[in-house]
């Protein structure tokens, strides 16, 4: 797979996150997929593995933010890696990463790294650049 094809996969998956299209995860993520991302409710560890665990994470985002929509602001690729600067927005209606709901329209930004192996997403790492600022009540 080329770098441009890797980027096209990232565009598809970020769109699918917003549509809660979990079927896409089976198509594009490796069966032994691993991820390291900020822990959400019910998970004390930041590192996890498996497509099913990741689906629960996508659902948790949708539960916490009404009308959630993701956007890739910047995307670059080199070798088997793709990096994005991304954002997601929605109405913060549920507890998220320790922040109680503000019921406000919010925008959270983050950085996301993906490693591809044999055309499938093998590993991702991600973090937020502004979560406390975006989700604090004041």
């Amino acid at each position: 797979m080329s770098i441009e094809e890797h980027k096209a996969v990232l565009a598809r998956v970020f769109k699918a996150f917003g549509e809660l299209d979990l079927h896409m995860i089976d198509e594009t993520y490796s069966p032994d997929y691993e991820f390291d991302a900020p822990p959400l409710k019910g998970s004390s560890s930041s590192a996890s593995s498996g497509r099913e665990a990741f689906k629960q994470r996508v659902i948790a985002f949708g539960d916490a933010f009404a009308n959630i929509k993701y956007n890739i602001d910047d995307i670059i690729g080199e070798g088997d890696l793709v990096a994005t600067y991304f954002s997601f927005g929605g109405i913060h209606r549920g507890e998220f990463a320790g922040f109680p709901p503000t019921n406000k329209q919010v925008k959270v930004t983050g950085i996301h790294f993906t490693r591809f192996v044999d055309g499938k997403i093998k590993k991702t790492w991600a973090g937020f650049t502004n979560i406390a600022e975006a989700l604090s009540a004041n």
């Binding site: 930041s46 990096a83 790294f113 790492w125 502004n130």
Partner: protein, 139 residues
């Protein structure tokens, strides 16, 4: 800028500024209107800025962890943008995020994403990932 030149630029940021704490090098590494986006940095006129905020962040880390050492783990570069995954290790000897010194040696991980213009970094965003430092210090 070529991909290789961008890697040299980021390499200088990590080695000279982060590891050797030569803050004066930032003036040649960052553009004058440099934008910093990182957790905990206050906004000014709706944007996060700039070199002064960046210096304060670097000093706060190197004061809390005097033996701090940064390592670049992964790099993704194109002509106008570069992103790196990095880790840093240090011994907690000064107050950090309101936590009194614990003497613990910790290693934390972050991602950063930069835009490059005219051979300098015009904006730089940081996103911690993995176990947060405050959790590591409390463990």
């Amino acid at each position: 800028m070529t991909v290789e030149q961008n890697k040299v630029l980021i390499g200088r940021l990590f080695e000279m500024v982060f590891n050797q704490v030569k803050l004066e090098a930032l003036d040649e590494i960052c553009t004058p209107n440099f934008v910093l986006e990182t957790p905990g940095v206050p906004t000014s006129k709706g944007i996060k800025d700039g070199v002064e905020s960046f210096k304060q962040r670097i000093i706060s880390y190197s004061t809390a962890f005097p033996d701090i050492k940064y390592t670049i783990d992964n790099t993704v570069a194109e002509d106008t943008m570069i992103a790196v995954g990095f880790s840093f290790s240090g011994t907690h000897k000064g107050e950090f995020l309101g936590i009194a010194p614990t003497g613990k040696k910790v290693t934390a991980t972050e991602l950063c994403f930069a835009h490059v213009a005219n051979g300098k970094i015009s904006d730089l965003r940081f996103a911690p990932y993995g176990t947060p430092i405050n959790v590591l210090l409390a463990a």
